[in-house]
Symmetry: D2
Subunit: 367 residues, 4 copies
């Protein structure tokens, strides 16, 4: 019931506010004997780190992760892994003038209505800074999944601009500030987002994540469906308003024939699918094909332009936000989405091993 | 960890296979003292019931619900409510010829790969028949929410055909076999789906659900987000491949100004929003506006037309499904989606009361 | 948070009232491919069944179990197993006169104060009849544990009478109506309990349970301790007021030297312990020795003799209970305790496999 | 499934090893608006702190707690509270010689067998140092319970010496180094334990905890029984081997008449009980009487005297432990036990409010 925890057997509990002393997470349920050092985690945090280009917030945070427990002699011990990241470049004064007002489209209003109190500094607990802890946890989840599993995300739409899928190039993703897989689109996106940034506005985005090397059989019927857990994990990311698996919303227009991913036994003797509309999941259980999902991130709600709002005393006010913000928070959502997918898949790997990892009488009976 | 259970405080555990003796659910955590009789539940089951028009499966199931526990003198007692529905019109012989083969696009293959065994009769546990238990649970959840809360769904896209939103009429939805809110579209849909049905094919659909009367403050930060729990609940429904909240995937193209639902204090002294792109949820917590979500249902994977597949022995085969099936399983997903939303909202009502229902020092301190 | 569910991966949800139509449970998380038929479960129910001797309640219930789901071709499918037992010999009229009064020492009072309503018939949900569902679940748990694991309980104290441990004979326990392991004590117990029964009184008891064949390594640090889960499971049984592991309360008087179970490598090359004060659990994790625990059951609170109490309107009254009851409810607690232990051990078997069942880098690194 | 987390709605996750950089916990589910500062927590840590008398370990740890999140302007915000305590006086070299051997009666052996790896320094995760985090969490739980609830523990048996209950004096408890409630016993205990300490041995103890001011109605039937949750919480404390509620194991010898706590309406109009054998809990639900429980703590397994054991390579060895240890770890278990009871009670306060805190139709129907 921990509302700040996710996962079933691999349990990640995050804590911390944007302008508190630190943020962090506790990861429980990690198998013992996995090699794990700071160097396994830091590269993923560096991908999410703010201040790396003019297209993201200018807050400067080194985001150095500390492993406080659960690792001995560079090996996981099976006990909870506590990770911590100091907050360094918090400028709470930027937020002082908005202490009593609610930013439209932001969690300010709902936190205050729910709890009767809020830490207004930098968004408090609602800040996207919390996602650093998720990314750290995702790095640990990747260790559980092993090197045969690959989880990679890309930005496929930036506001009204989208990539050309036929030009998809995984190698391009880390060579531009957008995680854009279409190198020919990058220049246009730079001009487009720079304009938005200069006007003090912001814009939404769509991210696509591919997971390959996933064994057949992960997931479970109904409420433990792999896609249900993925949907919750992705929707729990700040600013996400939609998630789809495989062909997603397009299947609404498909006929049964168009939708069915036909199967046959290939020359190698393995199962081959004619397509992957299912996105690698049927009946909530992985098929062995790539797991493909997309999610949409709304534009940053902190914008410089003046909008109408109300304050804590119940009066109408005008508001403009002047803190440092991402013109497109969707960019940094790419490593965050990857991390959440990694955690869900590692969790289901453990779940599957628990229920189906033993010897079955079924085999004895059938043999 | 119950993979066949959902909810946090209001816990629903479903059980049963399509062609077993019965299906049912156990609902735990229901507040005591609520009036509850079979008559509170049956009307919702009747909405989902098969065989009511030629546009849905012709299996004839009265779906009479029995309350086996947790109710005394027509009042809930606070103890678990066990509901049960007999299976009557199962025709397992229809499935005998497909015992050793996997229907493409269906859970047949993944269940077999996961468990090494499957109940092939009518899809076994993967059958949409399981959703009758969800609908029954949803009726109980509505009692918890009370009569001020309304949860209503409609089919807004049937395959390639969609409604005209400006003609939306809530009164129309129960007057046609599609839960279509646009009466002028119904005739066209009848012809369209009848053609699909006759060709032995099937088609996808999109459903929209509106919940009104929801108090501000339901939900929680991060992994207890109201939208994260809704996403998991909806994605756990059979054949769902995508879910979006409020403006959903459209926010990807919005600017921050377009997305922000501005607030002001209205003449009545209450908060008024200029729009509802957020779909009634900000930072995972309800705003008090209507909660609006949409989800897509893929076409029924059981189709008469011959497709390529494989069998349990690992050989390529041709397959055609001849059981009774819905040409558009999305139609009966309307009451199912409503039920899942009701369960999630009732769960969060209890969660909110637990954490925030007491007297706060904050008030004393501030006064 | 299901308060009527227990277990972590092997999840058992029970439902039903003493005088309702039926009682039952849903068992989720069972591995697929285990042979399971009614005949695997019924013998354990028969051990718990009422009406088998004059030393237990005279209510006549055949307690025939029905398997409603989760099993196909006599094999578990990995989906939830729904078990159901009809109530047949309920005599609600026996309880009518106590509808408005609370039996001292019984849950009548607290249920009413908590919920504002209670099903007074036969104790409603608080009735020990609920334990039939636990016993059924325990039979399924034994299938998961396999035939190398043995879980056996015995009554070691009946009121003021106790067994002589040196005469312990496992073969004796099913040859007397008390599950007494000391055959020389049985005659004395018969006279003793018969007297108590005739006077309309009741008496407490202590049960000891031994589990052998348990692998080393089940359990977890701290809140997943095997003994913590066993303690909760046993304390959740009706009328239990205490639980101890191994030497239990006696260790309070031990010195460190007396308490330590010394280890050495025996001639066979296996670890040998000099004693088993730990009861097979150290640091919450199984040592491989027998797991030994004891628990105390209070005397049945329903007695014929008149006692002082109050009624639902808040007035003092005199009360005497005339329904059919066990003079020593501890006797039938033996199979119930065994069942709870079986469920906890099977649950931890799955948990251990999940976290520690894979290949560890630790081995590669050390080799 | 977080095995390092306990609680249902009030969720406490602890982390950290004895000789790591720090230990700590994350407390989730705390209601918002409660005043909370370091000064609310530190006094309880000071009661558990080592090095305060010669009767406890001489490790010097200030145990200064830091609040890293979840509190703003000295008020809880409803978001997770992260507490951290640095480890300062760890002397890992004391343990170096025991790196490859297992202390009998200690978790050394079972951790190694379970995980294939262990942090041997100071017991690693199995160290009683973990309990500092529990005590900190207990202080927060007391804030939730409010000032009307009192939870106090005392040492009633020290090895073979026990108090005289008729001399019980709550005021005496904090005036001696044993939390002994019988001032006339203290001198004898000092001599007794000093002798044990000087010989390098250790001794067990029994602790009794009283909770008063508890509302009627906390707890739930069966697997959410208040006593079941208390049993798990207490048994999860290091070295605990038994737990009993109210009259505990003594009820095994009681008749139904002796056991029944008779009720009547007193002159004030309130319910009065003739006794409290139930220890304040009937059917798993609080009666409103004081909740009374006792638990036994085994002697510290780290003793100086030489015992037989084995090492990680599977050879028999002789072992003597020379680190700093408590001659009676039961003494410091008093504040730990109080903390666990506080957490369970606060958790059930929230659970009760969730399910039963609303308006019931039962009232309307009955009125």
């Amino acid at each position: 019931m921990s509302l700040n925890t996710f996962g079933r057997l691999l349990r990640v509990t995050t804590w911390g506010e944007s302008h508190g002393e630190a943020i962090g997470c506790v990861i429980d349920g990690v198998p013992p004997g996995l090699t794990l050092t700071k160097e396994d985690i830091q590269p993923f945090l560096d991908k999410r780190r703010p201040g790396q280009s003019k297209y993201v917030t200018q807050r400067k945070e080194p985001d150095n992760v500390k492993i406080l427990s659960g690792v001995f002699d560079d090996l996981t011990t099976g006990t909870p892994i506590s990770l911590q990241i100091q907050n360094q470049d918090a400028r709470s004064t930027d937020y002082e003038k908005n202490r009593e007002v609610f930013r439209p489209g932001h969690a300010d209003y709902t936190y205050f209505k729910k709890y009767g109190i809020r830490d207004h500094r930098g968004g408090g607990r609602a800040s996207a800074r919390e996602t650093a802890a998720r990314v750290a946890a995702g790095a640990v989840a990747r260790k559980i999944l092993g090197s045969n599993v690959s989880i990679k995300g890309a930005l496929i739409k930036l506001g009204k601009k989208q990539i050309e899928h036929t030009r998809w190039d995984w190698d391009a993703i880390y060579k531009n500030p957008f995680y854009c897989p279409d190198p020919d689109t990058v220049h246009e996106w730079k001009i487009y987002l720079d304009n938005i940034r200069k006007t003090g506005s912001s814009v939404g985005a769509v991210i696509e994540i591919h997971s390959s090397g996933i064994p057949t059989g992960l997931g479970a019927p109904h409420y433990g469906k792999l896609d249900a857990d993925l949907a919750a994990a992705i929707m729990s990311i700040h600013a996400v308003k939609g998630i789809e698996i495989g062909a997603g919303f397009a299947v609404g227009t498909f006929s049964g024939e168009e939708n069915a991913d036909e199967m046959r036994i290939g020359e190698s003797g393995d199962v081959e699918f004619s397509s992957n509309n299912a996105g690698g999941i049927l009946g909530g259980i992985s098929t062995g094909q790539d797991i493909i999902l997309r999610f949409v991130v709304k534009p940053t709600s902190s914008i410089h332009n003046v909008t109408n709002s109300i304050d804590t005393s119940g009066k109408s006010v005008k508001i403009s936000t002047t803190g440092r913000h991402d013109p497109c928070v969707g960019i940094r959502a790419v490593p965050v989405g990857e991390a959440m997918v990694a955690c869900v898949l590692a969790d289901h790997l453990l779940l599957h091993r628990a229920q189906c990892g033993g010897n079955h009488d079924v085999n004895k009976k059938n043999s």
